[in-house]
Every structure is written in C-alpha cells, then in structure tokens.
C-alpha cells in the first residue's frame, strides 16, 4: 500500500467511520437527531453541588460496565471508557474488523485536555484522608492523558503509532490533523483519530468557575450554552468523545468502503498572546484558517459552512465572528455547542464528526438557544431549525487556552 512520498503528500484522506459519545447521545444517529433538533443538554449536576457553578452537560445514561464489561469499566476512568466506546463504534461504522487488519499499520491519535480528572481527584482525596497506602495504583494508568490512546490500541489491536495530543480545547482538531498526516506520509494505512474528555470533577470545575469562564445562567440551565447570542455569559463544560476512522481515499475505495467525507485541509498556529484570552486581533486564528484553506487548495469564497468553535463566551464568539466575517464570504455558520456544551479537548473531534455529517447530509444543525444574535456579530448563523446546505467545502474551528488554534477543512465525498 505504500506509495512514493511525493504523491502521498497530495493524497486525499477519507473519513470512513464515525463514533460519538456526547451529551447529545451515545451513537452517531442519536447525536445527529438531537443536534439537528437543536435540543440543549445542559442541566444542574449533582456531582458539582456546592460549587459556584453546577451547570454541566453529561453523557446521559452512560453505563461503562454494560458497554465494556465490569472488569474493564472498574479499571478505567470515564475519559478512557468514552474513548473505547466511540472508537469501537467508529471502527464498526467503517466496516473494519480489528481481528483481520494488519495492526502495525493502524495508528491511534487522540486529543485530550485534562486526562483522568476524576481519578486524579480521587487519588488526592485518598492521600489526604488515608495516607499514601490508600492511593489507588490505577490512578497512574488513568490520570495521564496518553492512556486513552493506549487503551484504544489494546482494545482494537492497533499497533502502529499511538499518541495523545494536547492543545487544550483544540486537541480534537489537532488530533485529526496529525492523524491525517500519518496517512499522507504513508506511515499508517488506517488512523483512528479523535478525542475524549471527562472533565466534570470538582477541582477543574472550581478552577473554571474562578476564571469566570463558565455560564452562570443557573435559572435557565437548558439555555446556558447560547453561542453568538447577545445574552451569552460563558461556556458550559461537557464530557464525551468523538472518533473518526481515516484512510487514504484509494485504500478506502479499493475495499469498497463508504466515504462519508474528506479531510482536505489542516492548519495550526499559536497566538503567542495570553494564557486564556484569544488574541483580540484574531491574527493567530486567522493564520490557522488560512493555512488550512491553502492546504486544501480552496479559496475563502469556496467555504459554504463553518462549524464554529462558538463557545458561548463573550470574547470567543466576538473574535471568531470577526474572523469569519473578515476571511470568508458569507458562509452558513453554526455552533453545535448550544446543544452539547463545550467538551473541551474532545470538542474539536465531536464537531469534526458533526461537520462530516453536515456535508454528507447537506444539512446544517441550528445553534441551540440563539434567540437574538449579538449585534456585534455580523454572521449568518443558523437559528431555530436545521438548514439545507449546498454541496461544498466546510471548515471546523477550534481554539484552545494557551492560544493554540487548529482548523480542519472538510469536503463532501
């Protein structure tokens, strides 16, 4: 399957499988139905009781033991359980059988921001309350961010390059870009790429609240995540995972796989500006966007749709709105975070999956809770109901703390 490097660098990379575990549901179909219905998922979270902010979006009814077996679920932090369930779905969706593939040619690239946050927190509580002999040894194979990709490899016999990338809230998008490049370079024949996050532990949630980053719309939980709305006041933390199976187009066609879409462009940059605030000029984000467009060989006016980062914070949505206005030519914009909340490191992968579904089905989900567009944001944002989309090019933005930006260009098959 290995081809000369020169031709590989222009090789198209196809998305042949999707797997989703999000507050909008477990499984691709359940997700797509709820996201297209614009039905929000935020509520008050019992586990966060007593914190300044208790709003969160959890995966409803996730039973790791039922899905993975009790022996596996007992050992694995929720963050890894999400990754396994999404990866299994994606591989099955691609029509691939790990029992028969050449595992050495299968890579795993996942994104994550916080690792096993709950495991870290439990280990620390045990240390304080019971001393060092009370600390679970499993904390050290649950807490570190790299472990999600390791567990997916063990579960699916994926023995090629295996890594987790961390670019905060851009991690999922970065993982897909890095994974795509492993196919373009000829390093792998199949890449399981995506991201996972289970951040709803008290320590990180207290810290996010202290930053002032979280919505405090406690009187209206379902309406708390409201990207681009004039009354938005912060993001809602969410959990979940999105996994995509990537293959070179020729390989996918040769085995008769269904190609859902192509990942034709990837761009990344750093603001080099501030720990948490985006560069108000948007210059860093613009570099990532323009790099992705050039990588895909498309012009700004070719972009028909943007799945925005759209976190529902004042600053992000205004800066991103200005960026889209400045660089692109009136694309149809949505932020699916109105439904799902913000799954941090997993958001980019979840939204890449939604973007694939958007170009595949030519339907843009609405931005849930968008009642009155911020007058400072001059964009065509889909409101209330899903809107048909002409065939064409879409982009998905992700911008992380640390000023880390990543953009994907997704094209219809």
């Amino acid at each position: 399957m290995t081809a000369p490097r020169e031709s590989l660098s222009r090789t198209r990379v196809a998305v042949t499988g999707l797997g989703l575990v999000t507050p909008a549901g477990i499984g691709v179909v359940e997700n797509w139905v709820r996201v297209c219905a614009g039905e929000p998922t935020t509520g008050h979270d019992d586990e966060l009781a007593g914190l300044p902010v208790t709003l969160a979006a959890r995966v409803p009814g996730f039973d790791g033991a039922a899905r993975l077996g009790r022996a596996t679920a007992w050992r694995l932090d929720r963050v890894h359980q999400f990754a396994l369930v999404a990866a299994r779905e994606a591989v099955a969706d691609a029509g691939l059988d790990p029992a028969s593939w050449d595992g050495a040619r299968v890579g795993v690239v996942l994104g994550n921001a916080l690792g096993g946050a709950v495991s870290h927190e439990r280990a620390h509580a045990a240390l304080v309350q019971e001393g060092p002999r009370g600390v679970s040894p499993l904390a050290m194979v649950n807490g570190p961010v790299n472990m999600s990709a390791g567990y997916v490899a063990m579960d699916l016999r994926a023995q090629g390059p295996n890594l987790v990338v961390a670019t905060a809230c851009a991690s999922g998008t970065t993982a897909l870009g890095v994974g795509r490049d492993l196919l373009r370079s000829g390093t792998c024949d199949i890449v399981i790429a995506g991201a996972t996050e289970a951040p709803l532990a008290r320590t990180p949630m207290a810290a996010y609240a202290q930053m002032g980053a979280l919505s405090r719309r406690g009187h209206d939980p379902a309406g708390a995540s409201r990207p681009f709305d004039v009354d938005r006041d912060g993001f809602v933390a969410a959990e979940g995972a999105g996994v995509l199976v990537l293959e070179r187009e020729a390989d996918a066609r040769a085995r008769g796989a269904r190609v859902r879409a192509f990942i034709d462009g990837y761009g990344a940059s750093a603001d080099a500006h501030h720990a948490s605030a985006p560069d108000p000029t948007g210059a860093g984000a613009e570099r990532a966007l323009r790099t992705a467009l050039a990588d895909a060989g498309v012009r700004p006016q070719d972009v028909r749709h943007v799945n925005a980062h759209g976190t529902s914070t004042q600053l992000n949505d205004r800066t991103e709105g200005a960026l889209i206005r400045r660089v692109l030519d009136g694309p149809v914009v949505t932020s699916t975070k109105g439904v799902t909340g913000h799954a941090l490191g997993a958001a980019g992968a979840i939204e890449a999956a939604y973007t694939v579904l958007t170009v595949q089905h030519q339907l843009v989900p609405p931005t849930a809770n968008l009642e009155k567009l911020d007058p400072d944001i001059d964009l065509d944002v889909v409101q209330d109901v899903a809107r048909p989309l002409a065939a064409g090019v879409a982009v998905s933005h992700s911008f992380g703390f640390g000023g880390q930006n990543a953009v994907l260009v997704v094209t219809a098959a």
Partner: protein, 87 residues
C-alpha cells in the same frame, strides 16, 4: 449468621469485576479473572474498606488463588478483630 470471608470476597469480586460469584472458587487463579498486579492492589484497597482491616497486598500475587487471598484477609481479621466492621 455472618457470611464467610470467601463469600464476602466473592461478592466484592462479582460487584467490581462482573465475574458471577458462583463461578468464583477457592482455587480460581486471580489473573484468570482479570486481576493483574495493579488490579490486585486496587482490590486489596477495596477489601480493606470492606473488612475494615489493613491487608498486606504484597502477600498475594496474581498467580495465587482466591483461596490464598481469603487466607491473607483472614490473617488480617485475626490480627485486628476490634476494628472489624464487615458490611
């Protein structure tokens, strides 16, 4: 009547690992029911809380049997009867 150590231990293993209690026997080897070295330490932490005693995890290894683990727990229970608080 209080359940035997074995019965309680089998119950904990069924609860945590999903191995049906009626498939757990004194001669069941721990690693055959997915209890590797890390899981064994975790399991002893769970058993410490369950029995309310300090259990030496280095006295048993994954190659040992459920019966061996029962013996270690029983030693701990005999050494610290006053703190016993089986649930």
């Amino acid at each position: 009547m209080k359940e035997s150590t074995f019965t309680q231990l089998a119950g904990v293993i069924e609860d945590k690992l999903g191995v049906p209690a009626d498939e757990i026997h004194e001669d069941t080897v721990l690693e055959d029911i997915s209890v590797d070295s890390l899981a064994l330490i975790e399991l002893t932490l769970v058993l410490q809380k369950h029995f309310g005693v300090s259990i030496a995890s280095d006295r048993v290894s994954p190659e040992d049997t459920v019966g061996d683990l029962v013996a270690v727990v029983d030693v701990a229970l005999r050494q610290a009867p006053a703190t016993r608080q089986a649930s």
